[in-house]
Each structure stands twice: as C-alpha cells, then as structure tokens.
C-alpha cells in the first residue's frame, strides 16, 4: 500500500516514473558503463525532485528532465570520468557480460557501442545521443543544449562519422 499523497504531487511522480526508461536510455548514451548510467539517472531523479517546484505543468517534462540529466552529466559524471579515466578500463572489462538482468544477449553489443561512444568528444557524444538515439530533431536538440543549429549539425556529422568508423562498419 502506498501512503495517501496530495493530488498535486501524483502526476509529477507518475510522469517521471513513466519517463524512466527513456532517461535510462539517454544516460546510457552519455555514460561509459551501465553502472555509471544508472548513477546518473538516480542523480537526475534526485535533482528533478528537489527542483520540481520549478517545472511548469503544461510544458514538456521530458525536455526538462533531459536538460537536468545533461547538466548533471557535465557537472559530475564527466568531471569524474576525466579524473579516473586511466585506471577505469581494466575494471570495466571485468564487469563485461555480468549483468544478470533480462536482455543480456544484447548487453555485449551495448557495451561495445558505449565504449565507442566514450571515445567521442563530449560535445559530439551528447548530440549523437540526443538525435540518433533519442530521436530529437536538430532544432529541439539545439534548444535543449542552448547551441546554434549549425553547431549541432556539424558536430553530429563528426560524431556519427567517427562512431561508424570506431564500430568498424
């Protein structure tokens, strides 16, 4: 049984819960490992709950949450990633394929793609994730990132070309 909640609190939490699969997918596009991706998702949820009064009902909750996640990634995960990039890879290799959740057959491919994404410069990776994986249009991505649309499209070209090469396609 869940405790009674105020009528205004419910829709926000319901919508946030409904968006969790997409948020996790975006987090996997940005992060170097599934564990980091879920940490990023959790930090995003916490940030969103703390800031919920600032979200305007009637506006797109998904874009608001993607913005929070992207900023959280910049502030925390990305700076941490830089600091321990050198010692991280061996540990990562050991955890490959140990995910007990359903969908493990696909997990190896995912790890491989995440490893390739990790090699892209951050400013290309976030655009590849938003447009090629999350399906945002160029203009939506530009607005979300606060960038000119020309910058978005040129970074997307570089990012997707490099990624295709890295994955040996």
């Amino acid at each position: 049984m869940t405790p009674p909640q105020s009528a205004t609190a419910q829709p926000f939490e319901d919508e946030l819960t409904a968006l969790l699969p997409r948020l996790r997918r975006f987090a996997h596009g940005l992060s170097r490992s599934p564990a980091d991706a879920d940490d990023l998702t959790q930090m995003t949820i916490e940030r969103a709950l703390r800031a919920r009064a600032q979200w305007q009902p009637g506006t797109r909750l998904d874009s608001w949450l993607y913005t929070i996640m992207r900023n959280q990634w910049i502030d925390t995960v990305r700076s941490r990633g830089r600091r321990d990039k050198v010692e991280a890879p061996p540990e990562e290799a050991e955890t490959l394929g140990h995910d007990p959740r359903p969908g493990i057959e696909a997990a190896f491919d995912l790890q491989r793609v995440m490893a390739a994404m990790e090699q892209l410069p951050d400013e290309q990776r976030e655009i590849v994730a938003l447009i090629l994986i999350e399906g945002f249009g160029y203009r939506e991505a530009a607005e979300l990132l606060g960038l000119p649309i020309g910058t978005v499209s040129s970074r997307l070209v570089r990012g997707r070309t490099a990624l295709l090469r890295l994955l040996g396609e």
Partner: protein
C-alpha cells in the same frame, strides 16, 4: 569525402531535416552518385542498429532503486525546503525585491552597494544585476581564494534551468546571483549580521534567509572546487 553537396546537408537530408527544393536536390545527387547512395545506405543501417542497441535499455525493467528514488517520501522533505523558501522570498514582487536591496544598501553602507559611484549592483531592464567589483568577483573569483577586495564567494551550483548561481558575501551583506546571458542577476541580497567575518566556505551559513534562498534555487549538489573551476573556465555556461 568528395561530393557535390556538403556533408552537413547530406546528413540533414538523411535525418529528414530538409524539405522542398533542398531535399529534392540532395535526393537527386544521391541517386546520381553510387558512392553517395552507398553512404546513405550505410548510415541508415548504422542509425537503425544504434537505436536498436539502446532500445534494449528502454525495454529492460527499470532497476528497483531508481523506481524507489521517485517515491514521494523523499520529495516531501525536499518540498518543505522549497515551500519554506518561497514564503520568504518568492511571493515578493520585483519592486519589493528592489526595495529590500535598497534597505540592505542603507544598512550595509559603503560596501557592495553605493560605493563611491561604482555601485556593485545596478538596475538593468527592471532586474538587479551585479556590477563593478561584485561582477568581477562573480566572474573570476573561486571560493578557495577567500576574501579578495572585500568580496568572498560561497557556493556555486546550477538552478533547475541550468543557470550557474553563486552566493557571495562581504563584511556586511550577502546574496545570491545567477548567470543570465553575460550578467549576474541578483536573486536576493541580505544584510549580514554585524561582526561576522569568520572563515567559512558556505556563505549561506551566515544568513538563514540566504540559506533558504539557496535551498529553493539549487538543483543537485553544490559544485566542488574542481567543478567550480571548470565552470569558470567554460564562462559559467
């Protein structure tokens, strides 16, 4: 890559971002050039595989700890802080905020405000923004620098819209400013209790009103020293 159309246009077409004459132009170029046709096919297939790979994440069950993180119990604690803070500050209209700042100005005397014609705060487009030495300190000074020119920086963090905010204090006043374009827009300014000049990292610790305002504004955690420096190096974007 040699082609009659540039590659940003080619990929914009591939992504369905072009229409009308532009789309027709690229489609014709692709139809006429086997290399372009192969590239289109290769990138289309690649995009599909990329999406399918990450779709396995969206299709997988959400881990319990993430579903639990959305529970309202945690939100209620946080909400309390926001409501408390809103009572103190948010219902005040713009003129009241300005009036409050002027009161601080009188209390604070020749410190941040009204310092020999080089006021640290000025009105621009109906908003209070940092100027002169306060603007300079918010732009350049790190919290680790301690007091420089009478200004001390407290905490740096992002608001929910992603804007970087910084708290600051001098001997007799403290406040919070958030980045707005090239300006630091003041969210609040408070007279500091007399006689406080201790060495503290959290400027918010000095004034419960400022602490409440920070609580209501912050999204996530305050920056650590490395994040603060990185944010400065990015021009507070």
């Amino acid at each position: 890559m040699t082609m009659a159309i540039d590659d940003t246009k080619f990929f914009a077409w591939l992504d369905g971002e072009l229409d009308g004459a532009e789309a027709t132009e690229v489609a014709a170029a692709v139809a006429a050039d086997p290399r372009l046709a192969r590239m289109a096919e290769q990138h289309r297939g690649f995009g599909t595989r990329l999406r399918e790979t990450f779709d396995t994440v969206a299709a997988a069950p959400v881990p319990e700890r993430l579903r639990d993180a959305v529970k309202p119990a945690g939100a209620e604690i946080i909400d309390f802080g926001s409501r408390r803070a809103r009572r103190i500050w948010a219902p005040l209209p713009q003129w009241a905020a300005i009036a409050a700042a002027l009161v601080v100005g009188i209390l604070a005397g020749p410190t941040l405000i009204g310092d020999r014609g080089s006021s640290a705060v000025e009105l621009r487009g109906g908003a209070m923004v940092a100027a002169a030495k306060l603007d300079g300190a918010l732009d350049h000074q790190l919290a680790s620098a301690g007091e420089v020119g009478g200004v001390r920086i407290g905490v740096t963090f992002r608001d929910p819209a992603g804007a970087v905010c910084r708290s600051f204090t001098d001997q007799r006043s403290s406040g919070l400013a958030c980045r707005d374009g090239e300006d630091w827009r003041l969210k609040g300014l408070f007279a500091a209790p007399a006689g406080q000049a201790g060495d503290y990292r959290m400027a918010a610790g000095a004034d419960p009103n400022l602490a409440a305002l920070i609580d209501a504004t912050i999204a996530g955690d305050a920056f650590d020293a490395a994040q603060e420096k990185a944010a400065r190096d990015r021009g507070w974007r």
